[in-house]
């Protein structure tokens, strides 16, 4: 236990401040007057350095990597590639499934990324951050961006697999679909942040994953909406995963429900407002 690296005698520690000791008055006067030059950081403390460190944390987390990269890729190989020669309406089934799985991967990455705030609150890290100039909005923005980047990696992994396994997928289709997936994943980043502020740390991530599974299933990501009974189909159109999936598949050329755009915007507004409310409630006790 006693690996305390501080066994050097105190005298060496003090060596630097001997000068100070001879004239404490002058030194502290200088120090106190230097305080006037201090300023508050721009953008509420948001910076590229923080983004880099947060991304590094993500990449170190093996569980995150499994869920956001390996799982969608494996699912594609199992469910997508095997349907390479099938057609779903006018689109190749493998491509359809590939886009759905990329969407799912991005959803997982962004939701769990957002829900990370629950864990950081439990660790007392949020409290630590409250003792810095970092504004909650800047903190959340960093979480959202980092989880969207991870979602993007998930999309790229699935699409590269799709493009290299002989599925007919024009590059422009993949790129535009991929960009739409990444763009709409902000809905789920907001969803994750909201859950992160509302749920206790022990189960925030689990609850988030479970909710995502259900939403993806009825929202038409795992199976086409058409297999569900009419009532469920109608309900499904009002759930958050539906709009995101529809928009992601729009570049495939099979046509899409224009209400999906409204759905995505409304859900985004709901989750952002929910996060803001939860955050306000949270800061009163940190």
């Amino acid at each position: 236990m006693s690996t305390q690296p501080s066994t050097q005698p105190p005298s060496t520690q003090l060596a630097g401040s001997t000068k100070v000791r001879t004239a404490p008055g002058a030194a502290s006067a200088r120090f106190l007057s230097s305080l006037d030059d201090r300023r508050i950081p721009r953008f509420g403390g948001f910076s590229a350095a923080l983004l880099r460190l947060e991304l590094l944390r993500k990449l170190r987390n093996r569980r995150t990597l499994i869920f956001t990269m390996i799982m969608p890729a494996v699912f594609y190989l199992i469910f997508g590639l095997t349907n390479k020669d099938e057609m779903l309406g006018s689109t190749n089934a493998a491509l359809y499934i590939s886009v759905s799985l990329a969407t799912y991967g991005a959803m997982i990455a962004t939701t769990t990324g957002g829900a990370q705030v629950a864990i950081e609150r439990a660790l007392g890290w949020s409290r630590q951050l409250a003792l810095t100039p970092l504004r909650p909005a800047a903190y959340i923005l960093i979480k959202v961006i980092v989880s969207m980047v991870l979602g993007a990696v998930s999309v790229i992994v699935v699409f590269v697999l799709t493009a290299t396994t002989g599925v007919h997928a024009p590059l422009t289709t993949l790129v535009s679909s991929g960009l739409l997936v990444i763009l709409t994943s902000c809905v789920f980043a907001a969803f994750g942040v909201m859950l992160g502020y509302l749920l206790p740390a022990e189960n925030a991530i689990q609850v988030a994953s479970m909710v995502l599974g259900i939403l993806s299933l009825i929202g038409g990501l795992f199976v086409p909406l058409e297999i569900w009974p009419d009532t469920l189909q109608t309900i499904a159109r009002f759930t958050p995963a539906y709009g995101v999936g529809e928009i992601a598949r729009a570049p495939l050329g099979g046509g899409y429900d224009h209400w999906a755009i409204v759905s995505v915007l409304v859900w985004l507004a709901i989750f952002v407002a929910g996060s803001a409310l939860a955050l306000r409630r949270d800061t009163s006790r940190v």
Binding site: S2, P24, S28, L50
Partner: protein, 326 residues
């Protein structure tokens, strides 16, 4: 005790001018905070001058942490206000005027020690060099270790490093040495004292009396959300040094002069240096004094018998002072 005078010098020698003149590092005015029906902090007033090293001493539940939370802007008082160098706490925090070392938590397991410091450094507009801070906190050697693998003491040093980073004028420490070994505790405080010399103000909460006694210039005893004693470490130790001397008064067989004789003796005893209280019940006299020898001699010379001297530990003084506040 020379250190006391040294660290007080900046306070008196250097008045702080900034816009409006602010002579105080911390000013708590009528601070009140309750949770449910329980009043945690009760109309607390306190002023700390720049350069002071102040121990906030009190039993658990005395309101130390609640006060510190309000002082740092982590929670809002129900009534009263906080000023740190003449500004609201949130602003003082954002400018890096004040930083804090927390008791537990507050670290990310998946970053290395260096990365954790870099993270904090990236937030502040200006901060000290990462390597310098790591060295000062005595964790330069473990800079590349992952936080998860650090010992409790190492983690506390890391929290300390993060608190040093903005080069604050005021450092607030909530039970800072919990989980440290003796060497760690020494080094930690040694570092804090060196910092105090450059004009830093230090406020630390503790329930270790020795820690308050050894490292603080000024000790503030708090109980039930109120200040019950406020003085130099020396004065507080003086309170603790008092002993109880008791003796049986001489038999006077109901003579009319008996009452007068007792009163005379009590007057005499009261004139001795260091006497805090004298109490006579039936024929037994009990007194609290810091100079028990002088009291014992006088009692003996006046034909008192059954002399008893009991000493009080720091603990006793602490308990009696904090219980009085109730």
């Amino acid at each position: 005790m020379t250190s006391q005078t040294t660290s007080h010098t900046p306070a008196s020698a250097v008045p702080v001018h900034r816009g409006a003149v602010t002579a105080s590092a911390v000013a708590l005015n009528h601070l009140t905070k309750s949770f449910g029906g329980i009043t945690a902090v009760n109309d607390l007033d306190l002023t700390i001058r720049p350069g002071e090293v102040v121990a906030f001493l009190g039993p658990n539940g005395a309101g130390k942490t609640t006060t510190i939370d309000m002082l740092l802007g982590l929670s809002r008082p129900d009534a009263g206000d906080v000023e740190i160098f003449g500004m609201p706490p949130r602003r003082a925090v954002s400018l890096g005027y004040v930083s804090s070392v927390m008791q537990t938590g507050g670290l990310l397991d998946d970053l290395t020690v260096r990365e954790t410091v870099e993270y904090t450094s990236a937030i502040f507009a200006s901060s000290l060099d990462t390597d310098l801070v790591l060295k000062r906190a005595g964790i330069a050697e473990i800079a590349n270790s992952v936080v998860k693998k650090c010992s409790g003491g190492q983690k506390q040093r890391l929290r300390f490093a993060m608190a040093l980073l903005p080069d604050p004028a005021l450092i607030v420490l909530d039970e800072p040495t919990t989980g440290m070994d003796v060497t760690g505790r020494r080094d930690f405080w040694h570092q804090m004292r060196a910092d105090a010399l450059t004009g830093k103000t230090i406020l630390f909460a503790t329930h270790y009396l020795e820690e308050a006694d050894e490292f603080a210039d000024r000790v503030i005893l708090i109980a039930d959300g109120k200040v019950v004693a406020d003085g130099s470490a020396h004065e507080i130790r003086g309170m603790a040094a008092a002993k109880t001397v008791s003796a049986t008064l001489p038999l006077t067989d109901g003579e009319p002069t008996a009452e007068a004789g007792v009163a005379e003796l009590v007057d005499l005893l009261g004139g001795l240096a260091g006497v805090e209280s004298i109490d006579v019940q039936a024929r037994r006299l009990r007194m609290r004094t810091t100079d028990s020898d002088a009291a014992a001699k006088m009692l003996f010379d006046n034909a008192c018998t059954d002399l008893e001297i009991t000493s009080h530990s720091l603990e006793d003084a602490f308990i009696s002072l904090t219980a009085k506040g109730a």
